[in-house]
């Protein structure tokens, strides 16, 4: 399949690859997908508890080029947004930005799921202040 230049750019030069400390109460982690389905995304956000602004975002993705590009783009978009703003990011915007073909739309859906899952993990942690969940996104 011939890819769009933006996908190739994100794939070859992924932004924000890495991990944040999932034990930190300021960090929300979302892990979505399954190895059997061919894609797993781990997306993490570090949130300023005062301002609710996402100060850092990291990802690691097992998946095809579109899945890697979608998660890379998601981390780019998340940085600097408040949690409420982040929740407005829709998979359709990712599809549009990366010109994903119909067979790759599920990659963008997964990225949106990862964002929501990371935010919900952060929110759970910041309200309970308990030890972090082991099975995020389950």
């Amino acid at each position: 399949m011939a890819y769009n230049d933006k996908v190739i750019d994100h794939f070859e030069h992924p932004r924000n690859v890495g991990s944040l400390d999932s034990k930190s109460t300021n960090v929300g982690t979302g892990i979505v997908g399954a190895p059997e389905c061919g894609d797993v995304m781990k997306l993490q956000i570090q949130v300023n508890p005062e301002t609710q602004v996402i100060e850092d975002a990291k990802f690691k993705t097992f998946g095809c080029g579109s899945a890697i590009a979608s998660s890379s783009l998601a981390t780019e978009w998340l940085k600097g947004k408040t949690l409420d703003e982040a929740l407005t990011i829709k998979n359709t915007a990712i599809v549009e930005e990366l010109s994903l073909p119909p067979v790759k739309i599920h990659c963008s859906v997964l990225a949106e799921d990862a964002i929501r899952s990371a935010i919900s993990d952060y929110q759970k942690k910041s309200t309970t202040e308990e030890t972090p969940l082991k099975k995020v996104g389950a």
Binding site: Y3, F11, V17, I31, G38, M41, I68
Partner: protein, 425 residues
């Protein structure tokens, strides 16, 4: 228009073409197709222009020359298979050969029985033909294979019924390269008096193929997997012990003894004949050389990357095939990371159906590792330098993608991925 050079170096035309493209992509997909050998191209050229006759034209020199060339090619192909030239029927390719063999037997022997035995890992040209026949009242048994991809003769024995008319088993698998126990299967079919067809597309030119040794009654082959042109194939149809009869699937001028009507593709046939001649001439040396390169590739990867698993049989496999899964890395992403190497993958993301390889599934490879599989197919023109370059690029790509992979990270932290509760989507 390409001009064929009368060169002492037969590879010159080929290397010239490869060098002329902007970026040289290493071709490691010889199971999909092979380049036309320059010697084949050279043999074909006159048959497009000066010797352009219709081989069925009986009354003039143009027709006679074309017919003569066709018969010479038929002999060459028959000799490659240990067959009689009268047993070779030309088709448009292996898909047609497989259709003709299976549908031809089914219709011709329908009164004798309606049961066909094949395997779950055949090429779609076999599986879809069988599925079609199921809609026409035939019953098909799709045998499982062992975890190496070999059919067990006991399973065939157990599946045979009084009304079984055909056993169709591939000689070697196109994805994993596993070679079946052909002589054993053929002997069994003969004992039971059941016709035995084999799709030998991947085996021809890679391992010795002999219809007597295998006791094959029908055998499908195609030119483009043995450095011949695309669009020309053949079906071997046994004429003695037993004499196999087929109902045609194409009707018309009664060419090819009425089994396959249609004007013969003379340049294609001439190319096929030359390709078969080269196979006879080069096979032992070429297989040994390619096997050595395949081992170099496999060992070269294993030396630098851990958690690489071989799919298929360790020894009973085509010398040019390497199918491996790189744990924690998705196949399409890996292919994207090595744009200078042409390979294929069993990953769902590379298939039109979005399902991972049914062959890998049939041999018990988990879906996670099926998504991580890459097939390397070496060939006549593969060089040691290309193999080394492929190793280097593959290793680098796997390392980069593993650094990006959450699965790799979890595995390194000691998390058993099998116990994680994943979300589905």
């Amino acid at each position: 228009m390409a001009k064929v050079e009368k060169s002492t170096n037969p590879f010159k035309v080929f290397s010239k073409v490869a060098a002329s493209s902007e970026r040289k992509v290493i071709y490691m997909d010889n199971h999909a197709t092979t380049p036309v050998d320059p010697r084949v191209l050279e043999a074909m050229m006159p048959y497009f222009t000066t010797v352009f006759g219709n081989a069925a034209s009986r009354n003039h020199a143009y027709g006679w020359s074309a017919e003569e060339a066709v018969e010479a090619a038929r002999l060459s192909i028959a000799q490659m298979l240990g067959a009689n030239p009268k047993e070779i029927v030309f088709t448009s390719g292996a898909t047609e050969s497989n259709n003709l063999a299976i549908r031809g037997v089914a219709e011709m022997y329908a009164e004798k029985g309606k049961h066909i035995i094949t395997t779950a890992i055949e090429h779609k040209a076999i599986l879809d033909t069988c599925k079609y026949l199921e809609t026409k009242g035939f019953e098909v048994t799709y045998l499982p294979v062992d975890h190496y991809g070999q059919v067990r003769v006991e399973d065939i024995r157990a599946a045979v019924r009084a009304d079984t008319i055909l056993i169709s088993i591939m000689a070697a698998n196109n994805e994993i390269g596993t070679i079946n126990r052909m002589a054993e299967i053929g002997t069994f079919a003969k004992e039971r008096g059941i016709l035995f067809h084999t799709d030998a597309v991947q085996a021809i030119g890679r391992i010795p193929v002999n219809v007597e040794d295998w006791k094959a009654d029908l055998l499908s082959l195609t030119a483009h997997k043995i450095y011949g042109p695309k669009g020309i194939g053949a079906l071997y149809i046994r004429r003695k012990n037993p004499r196999v009869r087929l109902s045609p699937i194409l009707f018309g001028g009664g060419h090819e003894r009425g089994v396959r009507s249609g004007t013969l593709n003379v340049p294609g046939i001439v190319g096929f004949g030359k390709a078969a001649e080269l196979v006879r001439e080069l096979l032992p040396e070429e297989s040994a050389r390619v096997l050595k390169l395949r081992e170099r590739l496999h060992q070269g990867i294993l030396a630098q990357v851990d958690e690489v698993t071989l799919n298929g049989h360790p020894t009973e496999r085509l010398p040019n095939n390497l199918n491996v899964s790189f744990a924690y890395v998705e196949g399409e992403a890996l292919m994207m990371s090595i744009p200078d190497v042409a390979v294929s993958s069993g990953s769902a993301c590379t298939s039109a159906s979005l399902e991972p390889s049914y062959v890998l599934k049939a041999i018990g490879v988990g879906e996670d590792l099926a998504h991580s599989s890459i097939r390397f197919g070496l060939g006549r023109f593969t060089t040691e330098e290309e193999v080394d370059h492929t190793i280097e690029m593959t290793v680098k790509a796997v390392q980069r993608l593993r650094e990006m992979s959450p699965l790799y990270e979890m595995a390194k932290e000691g998390i058993d991925l099998k116990t994680v509760q994943w979300t589905t989507h």
